[in-house]
């Protein structure tokens, strides 16, 4: 009856599930003690720098006014007030304008051999006739109605459709306002531009420009071919009124960006009407779009090589547990399986991020310098974009490593998991870019919905709707915005991790 209570055996250290810190430490130990994996990860970092060094771009023979592109990136890059690469070549009929004044014209028509949708003519107020200087302009375009554009990157639509148009620009110090009208009596404001550092006396007048025609002949097969050449636009101004002109003025004609050598470029006036014929463009200059410079995106091409090495290590980090039966020991030590998966994903993700970051940084540091020694200028990017490119590349590889861990846990088979991850991340890009096998629409679709959308984080320059160029992934332009594309990759990874966690709990090890 009083058989003393038997105290159940209690070990001194109660077994408790390993905390997340111990789990992370255990997984880190597993990663760092396999020599082959550590070497492969370091090689991945080196590949990101090394593969990019194979690039041997030579600059092509390109004129500053944007015509006559021979191939290869531009030798010299003209930059606008915002620091971005620009094209600035047009025919300018101008006179000096004081700090307050206005310019009103009626554009009777815009014609030309091979008129482009973005052929443009109208009125412009520009700091000087030096290419790359600040400006604001009201214009009639070949196919996009009336636009107000300033400082290359800015573009605001006015009246749509064809037909004779009245245009007006007023200057008050640094503020320039654009108006348009269909009849010359009812005016509507299109936009207001504030041009920093505008001198007291500026050049104001009429202009005409027409970008190179570019037509993609083939979108599939190995590579794409395009044909094109310079075009010109002729605008007739039948009403011209200027106020605020500096004394000693009078119209003068200048081919901004140097003479194009095309016949017919120039101006003549007869009976109050002025006809201006010009070629070239006043616009941002997209990289790889025919007359652009060398894209920063190309310095990061080694990402693919590094990515494949990281994917192999990350997959093995998971599947090796199954091969050696280590998974049973691991699961005895930490029975909370989802937590184990999370620890693995975090450790390999951070390790991949850590080896990729210096690689991407070195690539973006060394390669533009090597380019410069060959006379190729890399199109400038703002510092914040540079940070996004480098950190984003490392994050891309890190998240891809997590996806590989998840697929390794789902498939439990190294070769199948590695192939699947490479097929979903590398292949869509591969189909869209070096092979151009798919029609543009299908390639865009693949780069929107597959994990390869993450490469959008490597887009260095914005795509400008007001410039017709080949905004293809090969030139560093993606169908999704940088962070949106990265979010698609993250969503796939999260989905795969959740599925992996579920299967890991459901299945026997």
């Amino acid at each position: 009856m009083t058989a003393g209570l038997i105290t159940p055996y209690q070990p001194e250290l109660a077994p408790r599930p390993a905390g997340i810190a111990q789990l992370l430490r255990a997984e880190w130990t597993k990663l760092r003690t396999v020599r082959g994996w550590v070497i492969a990860l370091i090689v991945a970092g080196l590949l990101i720098v090394g593969v990019g060094l194979l690039n041997h771009s030579e600059c092509g023979g390109i004129q500053p006014n944007g015509s006559n592109s021979v191939g290869g990136p531009a030798c010299a890059v003209l930059t606008g007030p915002g620091g971005e690469a620009v094209t600035d070549g047009f025919y300018f009929v101008h006179q000096p304008l004081g700090p307050a004044g206005s310019l009103t014209v009626r554009v009777a028509g815009l014609t030309g051999p091979g008129l482009q949708p973005w052929s443009k003519a109208g009125i412009i107020i520009k700091a000087s006739t030096i290419p790359g200087s600040a400006y604001a302009a009201m214009m009639v375009t070949g196919g996009h109605g009336v636009r107000m554009q300033w400082d290359y990157a800015q573009d605001t639509p006015g009246l749509a459709g064809p037909g004779p148009r009245w245009l007006r620009l007023t200057r008050s110090g640094a503020v320039i306002t654009g108006y348009d009208s269909a009849d010359g009596t009812h005016w509507a404001k299109v936009g207001t531009a504030t041009l920093a550092g505008l001198p007291s006396t500026v050049q104001a007048g009429l202009f005409a420009a027409s970008p190179d025609s570019s037509q993609l002949i083939s979108s599939s097969g190995i590579g794409s071919s395009s044909s094109g050449g310079p075009t010109q636009a002729t605008a007739t101004f039948d009403q011209v009124a200027v106020t605020g002109v500096r004394s000693g003025g009078g119209w003068a004609g200048t081919a901004v960006g140097g003479p194009s050598g095309m016949p017919g470029v120039g101006y003549h006036s007869a009976g109050g009407a002025v006809t201006v014929t010009g070629t070239g463009d006043i616009a941002p200059s997209p990289s790889g779009g025919g007359n652009g410079g060398y894209s920063v995106a190309q310095t990061l091409i080694g990402t693919f090589a590094g990515l494949i090495a990281v994917i192999v290590v990350a997959t093995m980090f998971m599947t090796a547990e199954y091969r050696r039966g280590l998974i049973r020991v691991t699961l005895v030590a930490s029975p909370r399986r989802s937590r184990l998966l999370a620890a693995k994903a975090v450790v390999i993700g951070l390790a991949a991020f850590a080896v990729t970051l210096p690689g991407a940084y070195a690539a973006s540091l060394i390669e533009p310098r090597l380019m410069r020694t060959r006379g190729v200028t890399v199109d400038p990017v703002p510092p914040l974009t540079d940070v996004r490119l480098i950190v984003g590349t490392a994050a891309l590889v890190g998240v891809a490593a997590m996806l590989a861990v998840a697929l390794g846990a789902i498939l439990r088979h190294s070769a199948a998991a590695v192939t699947t991850v490479i097929a979903v991340i590398v292949l869509p890009y591969f189909f869209a870019v070096p092979l151009m096998l798919l029609p543009a629409g299908a390639a865009d679709w693949l780069l929107r919905v597959t994990p390869a959308a993450g490469f959008a984080i490597q887009q260095p320059y914005p795509a400008y709707p007001q410039v017709a160029a080949s905004y293809t992934p090969g030139n560093g332009y993606y169908p999704l915005a940088p962070w949106a594309g990265f979010a698609v990759l993250c969503a796939w990874t999260a989905l795969a991790l959740v599925l992996a966690g579920y299967l890991l709990r459901r299945r026997d090890a």
């Binding site: 690039n55 041997h56 083939s218 091409i301 494949i308 599947t319 190294s414 590695v418 097929a423 292949l427």
Partner: protein, 257 residues
């Protein structure tokens, strides 16, 4: 002979071999059909190559063939079966040669089905999209010499990819590393080539890459603009496969299992 029989039994009795070969056929046909269905050439003057379009799926299915090939070697290492195999068959080169011979048959068969079906799909779909005999393109029939070359060459291409993968797997043993190296060799060359900037360097990279050179065999039009001719291109891939088998054979002979 007994080596061949043993390898055939091992390959045949693994369920995944059949499924993977079936997947390779399905992927080849599905991708080829999808690309053929999405290509449009209203003007009738596009630089399209109907055989190449129909056989786009090879770009993807070669990865599945590589898995099959890698697993014939790496699978043995992961289960330890390799020690039994080498005890029964101490001449290691014979083992590798038997594996190569036995692997080639099913891959050729699967490749023939995949390529034939893809070309048939292209033949049915492409003329409706402005790419057919009526528009001056070659008909996708075996009577057309270049089309026959593309078809036979694509089947041989898959077999050579299998041999390349087998050699690499014998050299590195681990399946993940082997498949990573194979896919890196296949897919990195064109990406690096496209980024090289210099057209001469791009051409050179395309000439030496196992996939870019090997798939020149699929071209039926515009042969003069290819970086390398169809048969020399397949020869480059054969050289890669031979080098991989040689390296795999040497390492297999010298290392402990």
């Amino acid at each position: 002979m007994s080596a061949l029989h043993a390898e055939w039994t091992k390959l045949r009795t693994v369920a995944s071999t059949g499924w993977l070969l079936l997947a390779a056929v399905a992927l080849t046909v599905a991708v080829g059909t999808a690309v053929a269905a999405s290509v449009r050439c209203p003007s009738g003057t596009c630089a399209e190559d109907p055989a190449k379009i129909s056989l786009t799926g090879i770009y993807l299915s070669q990865a599945v063939i590589a898995i099959v090939a890698v697993m014939t070697v790496s699978g043995e290492y992961s289960t330890g079966l390799i020690r039994t195999t080498l005890t029964a068959m101490p001449r290691r080169i014979t083992v590798l040669a038997a594996k190569a011979a036995i692997l080639t048959g099913p891959v050729l068969a699967a490749g023939a089905v995949a390529v034939g079906t893809s070309l048939l799909a292209g033949r049915l779909i492409l003329p409706g999209h402005g790419i057919g005999p009526a528009h001056g393109y070659p008909a996708l029939a075996p009577s057309d010499g270049p089309v026959l070359r593309a078809a036979l060459g694509s089947v041989l291409y898959l077999a050579l990819i299998a041999l390349l993968s087998l050699g690499i797997a014998a050299a590195v043993r681990d399946s993940a590393a082997a498949i990573g190296i194979v896919l890196g060799l296949l897919y990195l060359f064109p990406i690096v080539g496209a980024a090289a900037g210099d057209p001469h360097l791009t051409r050179y990279v395309d000439q030496i890459g196992p996939m870019t050179a090997g798939l020149a065999i699929q071209a039926t039009t515009g042969l003069s603009s290819l970086p390398i001719g169809p048969w020399p291109g397949l020869g480059v891939l054969a050289a890669w496969a031979a080098a991989a088998l040689l390296a795999g054979g040497l390492l297999l002979g010298r290392r402990d299992a």
